[in-house]
């Protein structure tokens, strides 16, 4: 970032930036980024003030630039906690609620409940269901990828009340539309569309 003011010596060299690395202007020197406490921050600042010849260019390869940019500073942006808490409270309510759905398995005497939000994707979900219902089946469930070899298919009921095969849509879309899960015997699943 060029500051073309001739009356300031070494302005560029001594310029200290704590902001995000330049998004719009790639030529900007990377900010000096001391880790840790404000103490260290102050000390690092002092090293770069006018009077020293330390150039910021030397720091462009500093890999610590990214974490520093992401670190939140106390009281910045200047929003009162009253306002922050109003939204946080609501967010927390939504997040704490979780996304619990019932899981039934054909032939099992009781149902289970799982929180879809704790899984990152289909693979984790499948493994979890495997573990949960292992005692009720002779082999792996593996209902996700194709119908070969597995005894069961994992299906779900969506918002419209339709029963769908798990795995077709992106994960985020799935968890937002899934109301309950059913682990269905393959023999009963013959009417289902096969996965592409």
């Amino acid at each position: 970032m060029e500051v073309s003011v001739s009356d300031f010596d070494n302005l560029k060299a001594t310029e200290l930036r704590l902001g995000l690395p330049g998004i719009d202007a790639p030529e900007k020197p990377a900010p000096v980024s001391p880790r840790g406490s404000k103490r260290a921050l102050l000390k690092a600042n002092e090293e770069c003030w006018p009077g020293t010849s330390k150039s910021l260019e030397a720091d462009t390869s500093n890999q610590e630039a990214q974490p520093m940019a992401k670190a939140q500073v106390i009281g910045w942006p200047p929003i009162r906690s009253y306002r922050k808490n109003s939204f946080k409270a609501r967010k927390a309510e939504v997040e704490a609620a979780g996304l619990f759905v019932k899981v039934s398995m054909d032939g099992a005497p009781y149902l289970r409940k799982i929180d879809l939000k704790v899984y990152k994707g289909y693979k984790e979900l499948r493994e979890a269901l495997d573990n949960m219902f292992r005692c009720f089946s002779t082999g792996e469930l593996s209902g996700m990828e194709g119908c070969n070899g597995s005894e069961y298919a994992i299906t779900y009921e969506d918002k419209d009340g339709d029963w769908m095969l798990v795995g077709d849509v992106p994960w985020e879309m799935f968890i937002s539309s899934c109301k309950r899960l059913r682990i269905m015997r393959r023999s009963e699943a013959t009417g289902m569309p096969s996965s592409p």
Binding site: V3, L18, W76, Y82, R83
Partner: protein, 610 residues
């Protein structure tokens, strides 16, 4: 909303009783002078502005005494600038007090808890000195339930209590106020932090007198817990003078409907949640499609509504209910409602009379363009961020700012949070909105430059101070070099409040401001590279200021000590967060203010007074 609180505005200032050191009293004057004083008192009682009064009190001893006798409203901008005893001794007939405590940066967590600003010594002194006290307004004070109790028991004629950004009290304190203050007209709780445990909350609403009350304003949107709704409804019913009601988010839209039906004369309404949450089910109020229709007619019946706020958990389908009042609204606060441009536009289209508008950036530039197209009379705009973090996407930008500047030429005050800004936009605003008194721009990413040119934001802020000749309050952000401060010092001759964060390059910047801004009263700086050598530049001026705050700058104890020694009436506080044994020299936080009271005796251990 703050529109009634013009006396609380940061821009209005004065020494109150504090700036001039004179003894109060002395030997009684001769008879002829007494007559003169009585005449003077009769004249001076018409003087209401405290600046005028301060000036009058300086004329001579006689005027000083007469003014002291006739002053009815006491404004203390810094509770530590004068001792309660001194204030109550000089002014004997006060009916209304405004008292401010902590520095503003306390709102953002920069001042440790238990720093001070205790209400207790003040309420104790006033209880003895001002038995006829009627009004009290506290801002950023630490208020205990015991203080509220003392208040309620000491002032039989007490009428108005406003607590803004205060902490330390609970619903128990509110209960005593409700019960004992039989002439209470105003109880306004604005952004306070109540110390309530979930299971220890007191039903304070039920404690108001059973008879008809003289309540005119009741605001409790910051009270965390649900209030007894039946009691609230009954209270509203027996308060025919009620004009302003602001409920908290536990009040559902169905409950609001009932309250509004009881009080069609309301002028200011804080709507609570404006959503139909579990509260409705709990109160067993029948739901159904009728509700929205009912709500519309209720709003239509509230012909006096000029100010709407709340909308804490707003369900968008209820928004059309407010259409009947939009045309007469002068103030609208949507800053807790996550509404989109599509949801805003049908509403704002009707709001021709709007003067004050607070909103979330979820409405985006498009929403702001709609505001600019309709609200030609807009005086104050505040755009808050939904996601108040540095890396957030940022939904409004220079585009929205330009639109506002072109549509709302009468704009006086703006607070604008964004992630992207350009100098061109700020310059445009400076030219279009010549009436600007308050300009606060917060580019949330620290030290962010003009996102189009990559240059610092110097020219934009420079244009603001140059072109907006009435500017009194300025908050800067983005990438700023010393040049920006040179502009501020050169052109910001009326600036009274300046907020600086992550800006400037050298001490010169601070020096420009201290030397140039002759009317400067409040200067708050954080995380900027200003050191000891800049401080002496303000020695000629610090006694004219209410305070200087500097945190995470480059100050040392030695530099601050020099100032403290040169100016004996300045209290220089060094605030340390924790025991910093490795470096006692560095000053993490400096808070210094003029004071007639000397170093305070209630300073906690982490505060060192030099």
């Amino acid at each position: 909303m703050r529109e009634e609180r013009s006396d609380m505005s940061e821009d209005e200032d004065g020494g109150g009783g504090s700036a001039k050191s004179r003894g109060g009293g002395g030997a009684p004057p001769p008879f002829s002078d007494q007559v003169l004083e009585i005449v003077l008192e009769n004249v001076l009682q018409f003087l209401s502005s405290r600046r005028d009064r301060n000036a009058a009190s300086l004329v001579c001893r006689s005027w000083y005494r007469a003014e002291a006798q006739t002053r009815r409203e006491l404004f203390i901008g810094n509770c530590y600038a004068v001792s309660p005893r001194r204030a109550t001794e000089r002014f004997r007939r006060i009916r209304a007090v405004v008292l401010k405590g902590k520095p503003r940066f306390a709102d953002f967590g920069l001042v440790p808890i238990n720093w001070g600003a205790h209400f207790h010594p003040w309420v104790s002194a006033m209880a003895a000195a001002y038995p006829w006290l009627e009004k009290l307004c506290l801002k950023r004070m630490s208020v205990a339930d015991g203080d509220l109790s003392l208040l309620a028991h000491s002032f039989p004629n007490f009428r108005e209590l406003s607590l803004i950004c205060c902490e330390g009290f609970s619903t128990a304190g509110l209960a005593v106020i409700a019960e004992k203050c039989r002439h209470l007209r105003v109880l306004d709780l604005i952004e306070d932090y109540l110390e309530d445990d979930e299971d220890e909350m007191v039903d304070w609403i039920s404690r108001f007198p059973e008879t008809t009350t003289c309540l005119e304003s009741l605001g409790f949107d910051c009270v965390g817990g649900a209030v007894n709704f039946e009691a609230l409804e009954a209270l509203v019913t027996r308060s025919p003078a009620l004009r302003r009601l602001r409920v908290n988010h536990h009040v559902s839209v169905e409950q609001l409907h009932r309250l509004m039906a009881r009080a069609p004369q309301l002028t200011h309404l804080g709507t609570g949640s404006f959503g139909s949450a579990a509260a409705a089910a709990a109160a067993a109020i029948p739901q159904g499609g009728n509700n929205v229709v009912d709500l519309v007619s209720t709003f239509a019946a509230s012909k006096s509504l000029v100010c709407l706020s709340g909308f804490r958990d707003m369900a968008p389908q209820y928004l059309p209910a407010i259409y009947p009042v939009c045309a007469s609204l002068t103030s609208l606060n949507f800053s807790f409602a996550e509404i989109s441009a599509e949801e805003l536009i049908p509403v704002i289209r009707h709001c021709h009379s709007l003067q004050i508008f607070w909103v979330l950036d979820t409405v985006r530039d498009e929403g702001l363009q709609a505001v600019a197209a309709t609200c030609k009379d807009l005086r104050e705009l505040r755009v808050f961020p939904l996601d108040a973090t540095e890396d957030s996407e940022g939904s409004v930008s220079d585009v929205g700012l330009i639109a506002i500047s072109e549509g709302c030429r009468k704009l006086r005050s703006i607070l604008y949070f964004c992630q992207q800004m350009t100098n061109v936009a700020v310059v445009t605003m400076s030219k279009n909105c010549q009436d600007l008194v308050v300009f606060r721009l917060c580019i949330m990413g620290r030290r962010r430059p003009d996102h189009v040119t990559g240059e610092p934001m110097d020219e934009g802020f420079g244009a603001i101070v140059m072109n907006c000749k009435k500017l009194r309050r300025l908050a800067v952000s983005g990438l700023l070099t010393d040049k920006a401060f040179a502009y501020i010092g050169k052109y910001g001759k009326l600036v009274r409040t300046l907020s600086v964060a992550f800006a400037g390059n050298t001490d010169l910047a601070l020096m420009y401001v201290l030397e140039g801004c002759t009317k400067l009263q409040k200067l708050e700086i954080r995380d900027s590279p200003f050191g000891d050598s800049a401080l002496p530049a303000g020695l000629h001026h610090y006694y004219n200021m209410r305070f200087l705050w500097m945190s995470s700058c480059k100050l040392s104890v030695r530099g601050c000590m020099e100032v403290a020694q040169r100016l004996p009436h300045l209290v220089v506080e060094v605030i340390r967060e924790r025991d910093e044994d490795d470096d006692h020299e560095a000053v993490e936080k400096l808070y210094m203010y003029r004071s007639l009271a000397g170093p305070r005796n209630d300073a906690p251990p982490f505060v060192e007074i030099l």
